[in-house]
């Protein structure tokens, strides 16, 4: 792209400079990886995010195939109880297990369906049985289930849940930032371009809003009106546009007097058109930086609200919800906090570093 002396536009030069920032590129790679994992990962982990394994609750993180020897017997005991049978003997041989079931009355073989239904075992095969049906020997394949990040209090796979939660957290981060971006850019550009009394009134309003304890209002809104995703998006977006408006206004003030804007005006373009076509695109650099740094703030605010139980509600989940669950179970299962917290922190750090790199790249002095 930059072969020889071909001149490139400021946007392309910015991207080229960004490409040379190794930390920012690494951060971008991490972000893309997390986003892809959240998008496609849940289909690949082999677990449904809401599938609960009651026998495998709060498993620690690890690569061991489950159910392992420790969990096999209790799981089978529970299943035998549901089948109204007694578990007389269990013998594991690799991937199959040989069960000896006993019962007082004749055993109903149809209840063997409980075994595959638990998702931990395959189709059972009857090997031997007493004629009166009180003793039955069954061979059943044991499935190998993997829970790399462990399971939660209900025995659900934490990795799958982290990835599904990431979809919600990232979606809220991006959408709320977009809301803040649209309001902030529109408001700031209008105030800065129109100027005069309009500008004074509009920015005075921003000053007043700055002094409002907004987080408190967001909490009030979410407590009073059943917390919903839309409400939270609107609430967060409405809080976070103020900085954006100030940045865009400052940029606009300096752009307003530039020749290309005067030329546009001389050509007879109307104010909305000049703002849209000539002012807004030229504020791209600082706005991109501010937006990149806004996303982690929004995600943090969302998880903070979800942590308080005011944000995302079951059955939907977000990193904040999972962290709240982990914090409650921290004494018995610290891995339940570690998994989602690692996802959240990695995303936030990567976004911050990307924003820093972008800021350096946008700064024309860095060339």
């Amino acid at each position: 792209m930059s072969t020889g002396g071909i001149t490139t536009g400021p946007a392309a030069r910015t991207l080229l400079r960004l490409g040379r920032e190794r930390v920012a590129m690494a951060a971008l790679a991490v972000l893309v990886l997390i986003a892809l994992a959240c998008l496609f990962g849940p289909a690949l982990t082999g677990h449904d995010p809401v599938r609960a394994y009651p026998d495998l609750r709060q498993l620690p993180a690890g690569l061991r195939a489950q159910p392992d020897s420790e969990h096999l017997r209790p799981a089978l005991e529970r299943l035998a109880f549901r089948m109204r049978a007694r578990l007389d003997d269990v013998a594991r041989d690799g991937d199959t297990v040989r069960l000896t079931l006993g019962s007082e009355a004749a055993f109903d073989r149809r209840s063997l369906v409980y075994l595959p239904r638990s998702d931990m075992f395959g189709e059972p095969r009857v090997v031997d049985g007493s004629p009166d049906g009180t003793r039955l020997v069954v061979q059943v394949p044991v499935r190998r289930l993997y829970f790399p990040l462990g399971t939660d209090v209900h025995g659900r796979d934490l990795l799958t849940r982290c990835l599904v939660a990431g979809r919600v957290s990232l979606l809220i981060g991006l959408t709320a930032t977009l809301v803040a971006l649209l309001i902030g850019v529109g408001y700031g550009a209008t105030a800065g371009f129109v100027g005069g009394a309009v500008d004074a009134v509009m920015m005075r309003l921003v000053d007043v809003l700055y002094a409002l304890p907004f987080v408190f209002f967001v909490i009030l809104l979410l407590v009073f009106f059943r917390a919903s995703l839309t409400l939270m998006l609107v609430a967060i977006g409405a809080v976070e546009w103020l900085d954006m408006a100030r940045i865009v206004r400052a940029q606009t003030l300096s752009l307003r007097e530039r020749d290309f804007v005067r030329a546009a005006r001389a050509l007879g373009l109307g104010t909305p058109r000049i703002i849209l076509r000539h002012i807004v695109p030229n504020t791209f650099g600082p706005v991109a930086v501010a937006a990149t740094l806004l996303v982690p703030q929004v995600i943090l605010l969302e998880s903070f609200l979800s942590f308080l139980g005011l944000g995302v509600q079951e059955p939907q989940t977000s990193w904040g919800v999972l962290i709240a669950e982990g914090a409650r179970a921290i004494e018995s299962a610290p891995h339940m906090l570690a998994g989602p917290a690692a996802f959240l922190i990695a995303t936030l750090v990567a976004l911050t570093l990307l924003g820093d790199g972008l800021a350096d790249a946008v700064d024309p002095r860095s060339d």
Partner: protein, 307 residues
Amino acid sequence: MIRFILRRLAQSVPTLFAVVAVSFFLMRLAPGGPFDLERPLAPAAMDNLRRVYGLDRRLNVQFGGYLAALARGDLGPSFSFRDQSVRDLIARGLPISATLGALALSLATCLGIGLGTVAALRRGGALDRLLGLGAALSLSLPSFVVAPLLQIVFGLTLRWLPLSGWEGGAPSHLILPVVTLALPQVGALARLTRASLGEVLRTQPVRTMRSLGLPPVRITRHALRGALLPVVAYLAPLAAALLTGSVVVETIFGLPGIGRYFVEGALNRDYTLVMGTVLVVAVLVIALNLIADLACAWLDPRLRRLA
């Protein structure tokens, strides 16, 4: 100077009015009332309660009554804490939140500005990059992750510090909440200081001082004075946020601060308690912003003329 302060105080009146109005009507719009219980009260008892607390009057009359009481400095009775006024509750909760906030603020300011200065002086070096990474990390550590982690490490495993509680403000009970509150702000302040000081260090006067052979420590001192402007501007809302208590930290560490009162008030539809806490926060935000502007004027003589 006095005129500047007076004008700012006059400007804060509409802001405070907006805070009171928004929170008042927001709460009355909300479904549910302060006397809704699992088992509904007898209608006669409910009517009595509503009459005693003036909830049977028209909304605008109630609002007028609240404003009139507010003008006398009366925040009203609490709806959920029986026989206690909102002023008593805030008088009890605010010192706790403010103690924690002040300690966290001092810790974050010292560490943040110090580390930011070091990073700016070593710009581009290994130490700078390490500090930058650390700052990004500290910004990204949510308090609701840090708090349980600190509890499990220092409270449960090492048994050095108590898990939670206030106990009259014993130092050992303060350490974990203060660290949790300060940690993200250390990163924020360090980044701000680094960026701002880095900018100042590239200006002409600093180059002149260098060429004159001034010792680096003195140059840094001069540069820091100008570079602290954005830091001070950031400190004002930060101080307000820290002094008025963190909902999360107070919840996790079981501290009876003002943040807890706010959340409990909101959940119980305790109208007066919520309004009182929101108002206190707003007053603090406005007061601290004013102080920050005055501090900026003191740091930068150019701003005095504008004021």
